[in-house]
């Protein structure tokens, strides 16, 4: 455990340093430090970008974890099951109806629509037969796909197609000072999730267990719903959809340390930040000086990690993922 922490924090620090140094302009040359240019690049671009990455990675991983607890199923995450697409729908509506509105207004609308979209997903999966846990991620994908198709449909008719790419494919290259600060709110929500971690852990055991243990099931579900939707909306508005962070990271941590959230939630956040950071770095380096969106890189690495999780059995802790997968069946 302590060793795990040390490794995670070391990787995170290393990545942060690299993120500050790597970019189109090479900061390792002495000259540009002398005229202060380097400092302004750091403050205006590199630092905001690095902070944005860390906040996004941490909060998306936690949002995924909370969502998995709410629906008691390991294989869902907000970005692919409707929350992300709803947020995009929100920004689209805001952009179309109030093109001149501030980022804050757009984000407020995105949050509302994302909230509604996530609530819709929860309502939908309550209709599913409890003994078919595999339906949940599938319904999520279908639901997300439908909302995505509606977004495309509207964008096509309002000639906003060129914006779609920026919401559907997350990337950090546009992040500058003054353009990412909303993500601090996502960071705050992540802290809130940590403070209520125990309740969410119980929620993950299913409705019956939660009620039996005296949890205010409805109340906690709504809180989780709000945390998940708001984090998702803020991320989509600021950087766009980054799939799989919320799916892969909590699953890795769960395999490794189990599902005691108070213990595992911080490490989930750190691992999320680290992985998104590394993906973004790879995207910056591979085709320097051009950039490949972090969503693309994470799509590739995230899927590889997930397949590994799926096929290399956890020897020391077998069956770790199985009981929670069928958690609703009890």
């Amino acid at each position: 455990m302590t060793k795990g922490w040390a490794i995670a924090l070391f990787l995170l620090a290393l990545g942060t340093l690299a993120s500050l140094l790597i970019g189109v302009i090479d900061l390792s040359q002495d000259e540009i430090w002398q005229d202060g240019e380097a400092l302004s690049i750091l403050i205006i671009s590199r630092l905001p970008r690095t902070i944005a990455i860390l906040l996004t990675g941490a909060s998306m991983a936690v949002a995924g974890l909370i969502m998995q607890m709410i629906v008691a199923n390991k294989f869902v995450e907000p970005m692919t099951s409707g929350s992300g697409q709803s947020a995009a729908l929100g920004v689209l509506i805001a952009t179309f109806l109030f093109p001149a509105s501030s980022l804050f207004v757009k984000m407020a609308i995105a949050c509302l629509v994302s909230l509604a979209g996530t609530a819709g997903f929860l309502a939908l999966i309550r209709k599913l037969p409890a003994h078919q846990p595999l339906m949940v991620p599938l319904v999520g994908l279908a639901y997300g796909g439908v909302i995505g198709a509606i977004v495309t449909f509207i964008a096509f008719h309002t000639e906003l197609m060129q914006y779609l790419e920026t919401w559907f494919n997350g990337e950090f290259s546009g992040i500058l000072q003054g353009r990412y600060e909303l993500l601090w709110l996502a960071g705050l929500l992540t802290m809130l999730a940590y403070l209520t971690a125990d309740q969410f852990a119980i929620l993950g055991l299913g409705k019956n267990v939660s009620i039996n243990l005296g949890l205010n099931y409805k109340h906690i579900t709504r809180l989780g719903l709000a945390i998940v939707s708001l984090i998702t909306a803020m991320t989509v508005v600021t950087v766009g959809i980054i799939p799989f962070v919320g799916l892969v990271v909590p699953n890795i941590v769960s395999r490794w340390l189990g599902d005691n959230l108070r213990k595992t939630l911080p490490i989930t956040a750190i691992l999320g930040a680290t992985l998104v950071l590394l993906s973004d770095l790879v995207g910056r380096i591979v085709r320097h000086p051009f950039e490949i969106p972090v969503g693309t890189i994470f799509g590739i690495t995230g899927t590889c990690i997930f397949l590994w999780l799926l096929y290399v059995p956890a020897r020391s802790k077998p069956q770790k993922t199985k009981p929670s997968m069928s958690g609703t069946a009890s």
Partner: protein, 318 residues
Amino acid sequence: MTLHRLGFIFLLYIAFSIAFLTLNARGNWDFVLSFRGTKLIGITMVAISISCATVLFQTISQNRILTPSIMGFDSLYILLQTMMVFFLGGFGFASLPQEIPFFLNFTIMMLASLALFGTLLGRSANQARQDLHRLLLTGIIFGVFFRSITSFIQRVIDPNDFVIAAASTFADFNTINTDLLLIASLMMIIALAALWHYRHELDVIALGKETATNLGIPYKTRLYTLLVIIALLISISTALVGPVAFFGLLVSNLAYQIIPSYHHAYLLPAASLIAASILIGGQVILEHLIGLSTPLSIVVECLGGLTFLLLIIRGTTR
């Protein structure tokens, strides 16, 4: 009753086809008919391919909300297409006879699906439950993986080549790839003949591996054959119009609802005719009646997804 309903769908298909061929036709009739006729044949072939592939896949996976595209089949096709553009260059790819990428894609898809689904679906019985979960997730994840690599290659590709590579990543029922029509129809006839031959065995395979084996079906052999046929059908539809995700789901479930029978001898034709009616009818309504410029694929995807969600809410999917 089953036959009546099948007949009704068939008439609907004929009616839409006539409307499609004749509505608002001006000028030279020979030209209009041969132009629209080719398109009609193409759309019908796509409809048959998607619906049969979906029904087959749902039969072997015993799950009515799966489609080959959800499992990553057409993402793989697009990835292969993009990789070819990447390695050959846009010009090299465009000057290649279209049959070569088609067969290459089909071969790779076939091998990939045999490797993935063949080993998993054919595995020992007491792991079947867990394996199905894994299989589903693997497919979905592979879909995302293929799409991500595709978008990665599109980023590193030459901008001129990008246009060629990107052209094939969206479904478009208006621009059917007519160059491939002949070879695709030949391949499809072979696939359909095989399906007709196996129609009774398919009813048994739908009962699952153990029951089918007990009833004397050489399960693994059939599974592999069916996976090859599915790969072929998906290759055909993707090559002709591009990837379509939810449409198969819509038509297969409509077929299950409309046809009160578990017999594939009815289900396969019903799903095909429903699919063709929707695509052709949709085209007629969009183009001529409301004059909407929205691509049919977007509408069909929306409808497919919504129907699917509706099915879940009504609790009719199993």
